[in-house]
């Protein structure tokens, strides 16, 4: 892992993504800027994928155990969601936001070097481990990008320049994110039955995952009934993402988490 040292890879990807964003930002002045921007983003993302694959082999277990490890995965999934939404809807800031978050995650990991522990407790050694975590990460990446609409929308509302069609895009992202969220939750339940004897034990992580699911469920139903009530919809979407963040990282700081079976490797 000498050339494929994490810092080298992360630094290269960050530089590639920044150049990609500059190209896309100045696409009117540079020929083929969008194409070059796309290619650079993809190369940067592929580098991280290669790094993860090598790491997976070297540590002899799936690299999903710690928050630091999952941050690297988000640095893969966010650019993918960003590039897909950007190319379909032509909103530059979808891509910028995803890349910005991915860069942030990589920087956090560069600043907090982790020693990749080879041990994986028996409870995590299951065929469910990889699908459960990947489905959740894909979901979080989509819902994360949808949260941008809420934040930006709330900001734009002040200047009365918010366009309703933007919330339709958010709906698409939420539908995709929510379908993965449902699968992640249900995979988790099926796995829990095999590992702990019951599919639902109200473990704090389960409780917050269910709450996250209900928050997006609320958003979907509210949008279904009230297409025109933009302000409340934006706030529900923002609130849902805050709950998601508490479920993902905030839970470790809550009093209830002390007896959670989901706190691994912190």
């Amino acid at each position: 892992m000498n050339i494929f040292n994490f810092n080298n890879i992360a630094f290269t990807s960050i530089v590639l993504w920044i150049i990609a964003m500059l190209f896309i930002l100045f696409d009117k002045k540079i020929k083929k800027a969008i194409l070059i921007g796309n290619i650079l983003t993809i190369i940067g993302t592929l580098l991280i994928i290669v790094f993860l694959s090598i790491m997976w082999i070297e540590i002899e277990r799936p690299p999903f155990r710690t928050l630091g490890e999952t941050r690297i995965w988000y640095a893969v999934f966010l650019p993918i969601v960003g590039i897909l939404t950007f190319n379909n809807w032509k909103y530059k800031w979808f891509l910028f936001y995803s890349l910005f978050l991915a860069i942030l995650f990589l920087i956090i990991n560069i600043l907090n070097p982790e020693n990749f522990d080879k041990t994986l407790m028996p409870a995590l050694q299951s065929p469910w481990f990889v699908p459960h975590v990947i489905v959740y990460m894909v979901s979080y990446a989509f819902l994360g990008v949808s949260s941008l609409v809420s934040a930006w929308g709330i900001y734009l509302l002040k200047f009365k320049t918010f366009k309703t069609e933007l919330l339709d895009k958010a709906d698409n992202l939420v539908y995709i994110g929510f379908s993965f969220l449902t699968l992640g939750l249900l995979f988790g339940a099926l796995w829990a039955k095999e590992a702990w004897g019951h599919y639902w034990t109200w473990d704090p992580k389960e409780t917050w995952a269910l709450l996250t699911w209900f928050a997006y469920l609320l958003y979907i139903h509210f949008r279904y009934r009230h297409k025109k009530k933009i302000v409340i919809a934006l706030w529900i979407l923002a609130l849902a993402f805050i709950i998601l963040l508490i479920c993902w990282v905030g839970i470790n700081y809550l009093a209830v988490a002390s007896n959670s079976v989901h706190t691994y490797g912190s």
Binding site: T85, N88, M121, P204, Y224
Partner: protein, 408 residues
């Protein structure tokens, strides 16, 4: 009052009425929890079946004969659904903030069951409200063969069935822990409430308990405080080299089972023998070399560590388990004998029970002579799984709908 000057409680009911009802249900529930001394009683087979059938018949009757009534229309309104989702989510939020089931819990929040929400009347009422509303929504929508309606049915009925079966069946779930050994077959265990279950209908004998371990880790420890000082990890395996905190380490020998004789460890497969490693440590600043044996010790043998300086020592941590399993023999009342191995994450089935590997004698570790198993019986699981399966299909359809605008 709403914009068109509708008086509250005048039909059609909207958010104000829906939320007032939802909140009243929860307040009433918590009040009941406060006044009732005894815990809410759990329903068992066949009472839960009767209640389940009665609820289904009631919902069908309400729908068939009164669907034009305003109050029944209100039950299947999206606004009502939103109030039901909100109130249920609110109780889940409380569960996510207040530690649940703590034995030390006391005071007001304990008395109104905030420390045990799952078993509170408030939760029961909120869940019933959600199930009734969801049930009426499904009935009003009906079943058609349009893809959109099929998806609606999968998502809504899947959730309804999962919640319905999981809550009705909760009282029939049996979880019994039992400790098995190699000398006798054990046929009684202790359930989750600490009650002894004298006869499980099967008897289990331990044939062999096996444990695979990772190579032990080495840590640099502060002599006085006992704090671990190194951040990067270092595994004790023969030939492993590492550079940590100005020290160069070289593991020149490693025995998985070793016994100390006269200050030197020898590879001996003795009962209770711990692992041992010989480490050569060179300080990169002043070239001082320290070498010696490390061992984490065991319940039977003393461990050993290497002194690096006056303030720091190098120690071996106890190896962490990679895998553990019990080879067991299960004797059923009909005289059948099942011989199989139970791993963590890989339970086996016998006579209606699912048998899980839970624990072992932690102090003896790989020399454990017992194994702790859990026996689980959940007669409603198939219904719950069917609901989960429907929801999964619904989720896949939802992905397709979200993706209609070709995001992927």
């Amino acid at each position: 009052m709403t914009k068109n000057n509708k008086v509250i409680w005048q039909y059609p009911w909207g958010y104000i009425e829906s939320f007032l009802i939802a909140i009243s249900l929860v307040v009433l529930g918590f009040s009941l929890d406060f006044v009732s001394e005894t815990k809410m009683s759990v329903i068992h087979w066949p009472t839960n079946l009767y209640i389940g059938v009665a609820v289904i018949i009631l919902l069908l009757l309400l729908h068939s004969f009164f669907k034009e009534k305003k109050i029944i229309k209100w039950l299947s309104n999206v606004k009502t659904s939103i109030s039901a989702i909100s109130i249920y989510a609110f109780l889940v939020l409380l569960m996510g903030l207040i530690p649940q089931g703590s034995p030390k819990a006391s005071g007001f929040i304990h008395e109104i069951a905030l420390t045990n929400i799952v078993h509170s009347y408030a939760f029961l009422f909120a869940q019933t409200y959600l199930l009734v509303v969801l049930g009426m929504v499904i009935l009003r929508k009906g079943i058609t063969l349009k893809p959109k309606d099929i998806a609606f049915f999968l998502n809504h009925f899947g959730l309804w069935l999962t919640l319905f079966a999981a809550s009705l069946g909760a009282g029939d779930l049996q979880r019994v822990s039992l400790t098995v050994n190699k000398s006798d077959a054990v046929y009684s265990g202790i359930n989750q409430k600490g009650k002894v279950i004298p006869d499980l209908g099967i008897a289990i004998k331990l044939i062999d308990f096996k444990i695979d371990e990772y190579s032990p880790k080495a840590f640099i420890v502060d002599n006085k405080s006992g704090d671990i000082l190194n951040k990067s990890l270092f595994y004790l395996e023969k030939g492993n080299k590492a550079e940590i905190m100005n020290w160069q380490f070289d593991v020149t020998e490693y025995f998985n089972y070793a016994v100390n004789t006269g200050g030197k460890f020898y590879s001996v497969l003795d009962y209770g023998a711990p692992p041992a490693a010989y480490v050569v440590a060179r300080n990169m600043k002043n070239n001082i070399v320290k070498k010696g044996w490390l061992s984490c010790g065991s319940f039977r043998y003393k461990g050993d560590f290497l002194e690096l300086s006056d303030e720091t020592i190098l120690v071996m941590a106890e190896p962490e388990p990679k895998k553990y399993s019990s080879h067991i023999k299960v004797y059923t009342e009909s005289g059948k004998i099942i011989s199989d191995t139970v791993f963590v994450n890989k339970p086996i089935s016998a006579n209606g029970w699912k048998i899980y590997q839970i624990d072992y004698d932690q102090e003896k570790g790989r020399w454990s002579e017992i194994s702790v198993l859990e026996l689980v019986k959940d007669p409603w699981i198939k219904v719950v799984y069917f609901g989960i399966f429907l929801m999964m299909l619904g989720a896949i359809y939802m992905f397709w709908v979200g993706n209609k605008k070709k995001i992927l």
